[in-house]
């Protein structure tokens, strides 16, 4: 064995000694379950001692006839379609406002960011009280400004989802605001000065300089938010548990209930694979987009 080979073997051993502690845990607790979920999606299994039974695509075929699944899927899309654009717009707006030379930026930033790190159970409990239909502060305020018949929010099938959307925008906007703020700091001041010399006002600068230059960031934020929206569960569980009726039941509710209430693990995995496919599509869009934006930079 030559010295070179020896050294290479030694490098390999040292390299693996570094990654092994994480690799073993990762392999057992993450990698295998990920692979297992594909396998389970074509099986029928109640989680007990009885062995699983191969059923092919039956689980997936059943999804198409399962009204709860279909409602969950459309609720998830509804949630995402409203949450994503409003969150992006508000995060961008506040980041632009905070990017001016102002005093007290730390206080403002804390106020906007704090909901993001506050626990969902606490936040859900507070908002449920704020949304209380008969004497909650939100409806008191709406009555005060002249709306005599305010929505019944989480007590109504029509308004429960909008209430959840409001809370999720409130909670997650601060995170994306910080992402935007970092990106804004990367835009050169000279561009704005040149635009001022040409007589451009604030709104024109926003439209022709800031927003175009932030396109890669916006793209990234939209992708992250979309994935996050399709994974939503905790917030809905603590606010409405999917109700009233099935009005706020989302995809992960369906997975959770099918697995841990009905003990249909195979069927739940098929539902989870649908979530995976949606996230995969979004991720593929991200890869394509990243290539496109890289070529601009």
């Amino acid at each position: 064995m030559t010295g070179k080979q020896k050294r290479r073997i030694k490098t390999n051993i040292i390299g693996y000694s570094f990654i092994l502690p994480n690799l073993i845990g990762y392999f057992i607790f993450i990698f295998i379950p990920v692979c297992f979920s594909f396998l389970l999606s074509v099986m029928e299994w109640d989680g007990s001692q009885t062995p699983m039974k191969y059923v092919g695509v039956k689980n997936f075929a059943r999804l198409f006839h399962d009204s709860t699944f279909k409602i969950s899927l459309s609720n998830t899309f509804f949630y995402a379609i409203f949450t994503v654009p409003i969150t992006v717009a508000l995060a961008l707006l506040i980041a632009v406002l905070l990017n001016q030379k102002i005093k007290g930026i730390v206080i403002f930033r804390t106020a906007f960011f704090f909901p993001y790190i506050a626990s969902l159970v606490a936040v859900g409990a507070v908002w449920n009280m704020l949304f209380q239909p008969d004497f909650g502060p939100i409806n008191e305020f709406l009555k005060f400004i002249g709306i005599s018949n305010p929505p019944r929010w989480i007590a109504s099938t029509k308004w429960a989802m909008p209430a959840v959307i409001i809370v999720s925008i409130w909670k997650y906007m601060g995170y994306y605001m910080i992402v935007y703020l970092a990106a804004l700091q990367g835009i050169s001041k000279e561009l704005y000065e040149a635009a001022s010399l040409d007589g451009a006002n604030g709104i024109r600068k926003l439209r022709y300089i800031t927003i175009p230059l932030l396109t890669p960031t916006t793209f990234f934020v939209v992708i992250m938010l979309t994935v996050q929206c399709f994974k939503v569960f905790d917030l809905i569980y603590v606010m409405t548990q999917g109700g009233p009726g099935r009005s706020t039941n989302v995809l992960v509710n369906h997975i959770y209930n099918t697995a841990f209430t009905d003990f249909k693990f195979g069927y739940a995995s098929a539902s989870a694979i649908v979530l995976f496919i949606i996230v995969l599509i979004v991720t593929l869009i991200q890869f394509r987009g990243e290539k496109k934006f890289m070529s601009y930079m």
Partner: protein, 275 residues
């Protein structure tokens, strides 16, 4: 010109002020309700400053639910998960960033791919596996499944890649081995990365709801989030007590946030820039 810019500033402050107040109102409401009597929480008209302060609420909740046990459990889970996550992630990230061993790129690709798979996709098979190992309804199970996330490896690797090669190469010439370089040269330079990872893991585990919801059934094992949830379903009309329990659950995170605010902001910002 001068006057116009002052006017602009004032409008800016007013808009930001209103938005910030909207953001903060729920927390303010939580605080004032936590020291009211439950029957006064929804009094009409609403009282922005309570007539009397019932700090007793904070004593009562400790007796109504085993809040102390919940805190203890949560601290245990949080500290252990964070420690394992930090140690194994830093180790693995160093291997991936600085050592060229066989199969490195393939393994890293596998790590990156699974980051894109949401936990919700594989939580069901993971749970059935953990039950087989006898790890459901135990703290160990929850710690193990959260401690090895690929995210930690990914984050630390980014930090290590930013450290110039020349540093470790000159250390090699001085006769230091990889372990010594890792411990003496790279880790001290990666402190901001460590801080970011620790804080994010800490807050995530502390606030985690779905993991404990699936894994922990026994009351004596429950975390603070589950405990408060349990409290809400048992005493759903004790509004004031629900709010004081909620305040208790948020306080540790507030403290961590105030101390490490800079790292939070940097951590979020870097996640955006790197994509």
């Amino acid at each position: 010109m001068q006057e116009k810019s002052i006017r602009r500033k004032i409008i800016l402050y007013i808009i930001l002020g209103i938005l910030a107040i909207i953001m903060v109102i729920p927390f303010y409401w939580m605080l004032i309700s936590s020291v009211k009597l439950s029957k006064d929480v929804f009094s009409i008209p609403m009282k922005w400053i309570p007539d009397s302060f019932h700090f007793d609420n904070y004593k009562i909740i400790w007796k109504k639910i085993p809040l102390f046990t919940f805190f203890k459990n949560t601290i245990k889970l949080t500290v252990l998960t964070t420690l394992i996550q930090l140690a194994t992630s830093c180790f693995a990230a160093y291997g991936f960033a600085k050592i060229e061993f066989k199969g490195r790129n393939l393994l890293f690709l596998v790590y990156v791919t699974t980051i894109a798979v949401p936990w919700q996709v594989y939580m069901v098979p993971q749970f059935t596996m953990m039950s087989k190992f006898g790890l459901s309804n135990s703290h160990l199970g929850l710690i193990l499944l959260q401690a090895f996330s690929a995210f930690g490896v990914f984050l630390m690797r980014q930090f290590f890649l930013g450290i110039p090669k020349e540093l470790s190469e000159s250390a090699k010439i001085d006769g230091l081995g990889e372990y010594a370089i890792f411990a003496k040269i790279i880790m001290p330079l990666a402190k901001p990365g460590v801080a970011t990872l620790v804080i994010f893991t800490f807050v995530n585990v502390w606030n985690d709801f779905m993991g404990p919801l699936i894994y922990l059934n026994s009351t004596e094992l429950k975390t603070i989030q589950l405990g408060i949830r349990m409290f809400i379903s048992q005493y759903n009309a004790d509004y004031a007590l629900i709010m004081s329990a909620s305040v208790c659950s948020v306080i540790p995170v507030v403290i961590i946030f105030c101390i490490f605010q800079r790292f939070f902001v940097e951590g979020v910002a870097s996640s955006g820039i790197k994509g």
